[in-house]
């Protein structure tokens, strides 16, 4: 089979799979969209590096860095992985994954929070303790 003949078969079949998304015009429009997304991702990469050099407060720097990364990841997932036109089952798989991923991240975050709370309590006690002997000489 020649490449040309094969090309027709490929096109015909994909038309069956995703009606309307595979006309040559639609695919050419998609290609232009991919280039725009590439440009946006490149700009966001520069923004990420620029923001990291602004010496923002630590928590804010982490927040902004992760926010930009999430926007970039969403663009990749939505357009390059074409999630915006994907079937429901894929979203079901992803929803379950997100739940388990959240549990995975919640574990250490919760542990760290508990540890910080504990150290605050211990810190409060330890700052009081040295004062007690100084306040007690009158008893001796």
């Amino acid at each position: 089979m020649s490449d040309h003949a094969a090309s027709h078969e490929a096109l015909e079949h994909h038309d069956e799979d995703h009606s309307g998304h595979n006309s040559p015009e639609a695919i050419h429009a998609e290609k232009r969209k991919y280039l725009i997304i590439f440009f946006v991702l490149a700009v966001l990469t520069v923004v990420t590096v620029a923001v990291s050099r602004m010496h923002l407060p630590h928590a804010m720097a982490i927040g902004v860095g992760l926010l930009i990364a999430t926007v970039k990841a969403s663009l990749v997932a939505a357009f390059f992985m074409h999630l915006i036109t994907e079937r429901k089952l894929v979203f079901t798989v992803l929803a379950i994954t997100v739940v388990f991923f959240a549990v995975l991240l919640w574990g250490p975050w919760h542990h760290v929070y508990e540890a910080e709370e504990h150290s605050k309590k211990v810190g409060a006690i330890s700052t009081e303790t040295p004062q007690q002997p100084a306040a007690q000489p009158a008893h001796h």
Partner: protein, 198 residues
């Protein structure tokens, strides 16, 4: 008698997807958990450490930024390959796959330069927790890049024969390899700021 693998091209009626696509999404779900465990460990190690270096102070940010551009570019080239194959343009489909493979090589060469500099400064995985997580996460990510490159090399080389007999199946193979490749790009999108910038 040769047994034909079912639903390699047509969607399975109950799932609405061809089997390969559902398979790759399930695999990617497991990959999220694999990298998720490492990100989770990083959160625990970093927040529990009394002192944690800022990546930008000890890692090469310009090289990592360049690698980010290379990987993003490779994500574009693989969707362009897929789009051209859907248009029936095998020649340009294959060329874009070749560019994707070249980007993969470029990424690994830059990564090797980065690792080489670190080794020459006596900075190894055992040096401290920062370098342990840096090498573990970038190393595992690099292995994924190599895995993707092997599949692209197959699709460009011996696997390309399939285009003549089963162009739809070949196009789908490129699509699901692309889905995997985008995931590898997606992981890097998070690794780059977390390890290098913050």
């Amino acid at each position: 008698m040769e047994l034909e693998i079912p639903y390699t091209v047509r969607p399975r009626p109950d799932t609405g997807l061809y089997n390969g696509k559902l398979g790759i999404w399930l695999f990617l779900a497991s990959e999220v958990m694999l990298f998720g465990a490492l990100f989770s460990s990083l959160v625990l190690l970093r927040s529990s450490a009394p002192d944690w270096p800022k990546g930008a102070d000890i890692l090469n940010v310009p090289l990592a930024t360049l690698n980010t551009f290379v990987l993003i570019a490779s994500s574009v080239t693989v969707v362009l390959a897929w789009a051209n194959l859907r248009l029936g343009d095998f020649k340009w489909g294959r060329i874009w796959l070749g560019v994707t493979l070249a980007c993969g090589f470029g990424f690994m060469i830059i990564k090797a330069i980065e690792y080489g500099t670190k080794f020459s400064h006596q900075q190894f995985p055992g040096t401290n927790n920062f370098f342990a997580t840096y090498y573990m996460m970038t190393g595992l990510h690099g292995l994924h890049v190599i895995g993707g490159m092997i599949v692209f090399a197959y699709l460009i080389g011996p696997g390309a024969k399939m285009w003549k007999e089963k162009p739809n199946q070949y196009t789908n193979r490129v699509e699901i390899t692309g889905l995997y490749w985008h995931f590898v790009d997606l992981v890097w999108i998070f690794l780059f700021p977390i390890l290098y910038l913050l």
